[in-house]
Amino acid sequence: MAREPENRKAYHFQLAQLGDEILTMGSMVDKALERSMDALARRDVDQARQVVADDSLINAKRMGVEDGAVVLLATQQPMASDLRFITSVEHIATDLERMGDHASSISRLSVKLCAEPPMRSVDEFPRMIASCRQRLRLALDAFLERDAEKALACARQDVELDQLQDSVYDLMLSTMEKDGSTIVRATYLLWIAHNLERVGDHITNVCERVIYLAKGRREELDEA
């Protein structure tokens, strides 16, 4: 194989680094989500506050990815698949950052919930968080492998999160009906379920981007 010229080598290295940055962000979001739910389950206010504080790191990372993408666009004039890659990276970074915001919102609600008396645990939450984390991992794998099939499979799993959210909704309504004193807490829990469901939507967005990256065409997966 012919040796790559030095400037091309640096360019490909920078492209690969952009990809790595997405994976790093993905890991940050994954941990933020897990920690936020762990803090909720254990009523750990300190950990919940930590998740809120750490969200700025995710935001900073996103800025870094955007800068990197812009520099590459400006200096290398990438073509075709490279161009798609760079623009996809920008979008995925935005979605990941939004997922981080949801983790932070969940933690803010946890802090509020910790000030209230304990309530019975919601069985749906562990399943929702597991689904979110599993799908996030799958979406990032699809990104890494430019695998449109995998991305599509991952997007289709969004239904599960929607169903779980609905069942939390029913549960909370009946809880509130039975005991008026739970209204505040049940509302917070509803919001948490909603945040988790939104995380799922952002994962679907990532999947759409991966399909665009792999195939070069856009597919709307929300209605799937």
């Binding site: 640096a10 952009l18 940055e21 962000m25 994954d30 941990k31 800068d67 520099v71 597991a130 599993q134």
Partner: protein, 558 residues
């Protein structure tokens, strides 16, 4: 161009001629000398002779030069011819050797060398030498690599080595286990560290170490999430691992490509050369927290009776002493508190003895029914007094078990006391024993308050009390002790309940003694003989009468 002797000599001769002529002409022009008998003018003559000399010299030089070139070309040609001949003969030698190679132990180089023409021998030897040296180097490199891999695999800590470019150079199986990497992780060699590890805190530790040029240690919660599982059925909860991550940077050799990272002002990724160690601290932390809980529980249990005692003493001091009936009542209460303290300390000691394996078990063959009857007799009165119907229901002719009757009796008593304590008046507590595989299953079933599903999982923990108000007393150590005693007998213990208000059963299975085993085998073999006799159609002799009640038709094999 080569300056030959001919050229020099020619030039010298012509120079001498020219100088001589110039000298003569100069002399000839002097006054009083005879003019030279020459027709030509002196300078022209000199020029001519000089030119002739120069021409001679040049010609000589040219001839020499041509000859030299011819000789060189000839030798080049000869070399080319001999090289091609050599190549051919080497090829012939190799081709001729190929079939021989299959059936020979001799090294290939020796076989090839033996087929080469004689004149190529020195060259062949040199080539074989070179090949041998290369082979030795290669072997030592391979050996070294295997040794390094074995060393890495044998290290108890997880280990990942990263290159200057931030790629995985090596990863050992422990690191693969901790990070939930596929296989032993060797397939990830060559990948970017970030892609392979997928945990930003681990990679960040290395980045920090490289930035500060010093080792960095962090405690990280790893959240392995294998994507191998069915994606639509997410696992509930992940096996979180608490890991100590230490990163040591390698001394940098020049500018690494990560220095020119993406982004104009900030370096977005600073992964470079270094090594990451991962130490699993999950068990350590768990045992730490168990110890912390234990100390907290013990001090709580000690504090409660001590506080009561202090209050009673103070009341007595403040004047209750002068009221004899009240004082007597207080003294009785103090007695109760001291008893419960003594009981707690006793049970703690016992638990620690059994747990550490120091408690002696005097095992011998015992009939299960004897154990049941002893426990039954001891608690019958207490049960009757609290309005509970205590029943005994055991299978007939149970085989002997190998146990310390004192200790097993203690377990049965403890279970019975619990059952009586948590069963309201009018309830029933049943003591059972039956065959269970290779052992005897004991059970205590009550119609009491029952146990919730969450509590069931924690029932055998130290200090765990279903009744959190602690109104029912007890140390919360009874079932923990029972569990350890049963385990010391090689048995298992468990509990089930249909839910709160539906009663519960605590059971344990103890293995049969050798005699008990033999007895069962004997019965089993007789039973099968009998069946064999019957199915074969032979006349039934005296043996079938042995079909004892209680022995199942199909004997359960131990």
């Amino acid at each position: 161009m080569k300056i030959d002797l001919h050229v020099v000599v020619g030039a010298l001769i012509s120079l001498a001629w020219f100088v001589g002529q110039w000298f003569l002409s100069a002399v000839g022009r002097a006054p009083g000398a005879d003019p030279l008998p020459m027709a030509m003018s002196d300078p022209a003559w000199a020029l001519l002779t000089g030119s002739v000399g120069l021409a001679f010299g040049s010609f000589g030089a040219f001839v020499v030069y041509r000859t030299d070139q011819g000789r060189q070309a000839a030798s080049r040609e000869a070399f080319a011819v001999s090289a091609s001949r050599l190549r051919q003969s080497v090829r012939h030698a190799v081709e001729a050797t190929s079939p021989e190679l299959m059936n020979s132990d001799a090294p290939a180089s020796a076989l090839v060398a033996s087929r080469l023409p004689e004149e190529a021998e020195p060259l062949a030897e040199a080539l074989v030498d070179v090949a041998r040296t290369l082979e030795t180097h290669r072997e030592s490199v391979v050996r070294e690599r295997v040794r390094v891999r074995q060393t890495l695999a044998s290290i108890a800590e997880g280990l990942i080595i990263s290159s200057e470019e931030g790629r995985v150079v090596a990863v050992n199986p422990e690191a693969a286990r901790l990070l939930d990497l596929p296989g032993d992780g060797s397939s990830l060699v060559g990948q970017s560290l970030v892609t392979a590890v997928r945990d930003y805190e681990v990679t960040e530790t290395l980045i920090k170490a490289i930035e500060t040029r010093a080792p960095v240690t962090r405690h990280v919660r790893l959240l392995p999430f294998s994507t191998m599982g069915e994606p639509s059925m997410p696992r509930r909860g992940t096996s979180v691992r608490l890991v100590k991550v230490s990163a040591v940077p390698f001394a940098s050799q020049g500018r690494s490509p990560s220095d020119v990272g993406v982004g104009s002002s900030r370096r977005t990724s600073g992964v470079g050369a270094g090594v990451i160690f991962l130490e699993d601290e999950t068990e350590l932390r768990r045992s730490e927290s168990i110890r912390r809980d234990f100390v907290a529980n013990v001090s709580h249990e000690l504090r409660t009776p001590l506080a009561s005692l202090k209050a009673l003493v103070e009341t007595l001091e403040e004047g209750a002493l002068d009221d004899p009936p009240a004082a007597r009542e207080f003294l009785r209460l103090m007695h109760v508190e001291v008893d419960s303290l003594t009981q707690l300390v006793f049970e703690l000691l016992e638990l620690s003895q059994i747990e550490s394996g120091q408690a002696e078990m005097e095992k011998r063959p015992v009939a299960p029914i004897t154990l049941l009857e002893t426990a039954y007799r001891r608690l019958r009165t207490q049960a009757t007094r609290t309005g509970i119907d205590l029943r005994l229901a055991a299978e007939h002719a149970l085989p002997m078990i190998n146990a310390d009757p004192m200790r097993v009796g203690q377990v049965l008593l403890n279970l019975l006391q619990n059952a009586i304590k948590f069963t309201p008046e009018g309830g029933v507590v049943t003591l059972t024993a039956s065959r269970d595989g290779g052992g005897i299953r004991f059970g205590v079933t009550d119609t009491g308050i029952g146990i919730s599903r969450e509590d069931l999982t924690r029932l055998f923990e130290r200090f765990f009390k279903v009744d959190r108000s602690r109104a029912s007393g007890g140390t919360g150590l009874g079932l923990a002790i029972a569990k350890h005693l049963v385990q010391a007998h090689g048995g298992v213990i468990g509990a089930y309940s249909l839910g709160e208000g539906h009663g519960s059963t605590v059971w344990f299975v103890l293995p049969l003694s050798a005699e008990g085993d033999a007895l069962v085998n004997q019965k089993a073999s007789i039973a099968s003989q009998t069946r064999g006799a019957l199915t074969s159609g032979d006349d039934v002799d005296g043996t079938p009468s042995i079909a004892v009640p209680g022995v199942p038709a199909t004997p359960a094999m131990p």
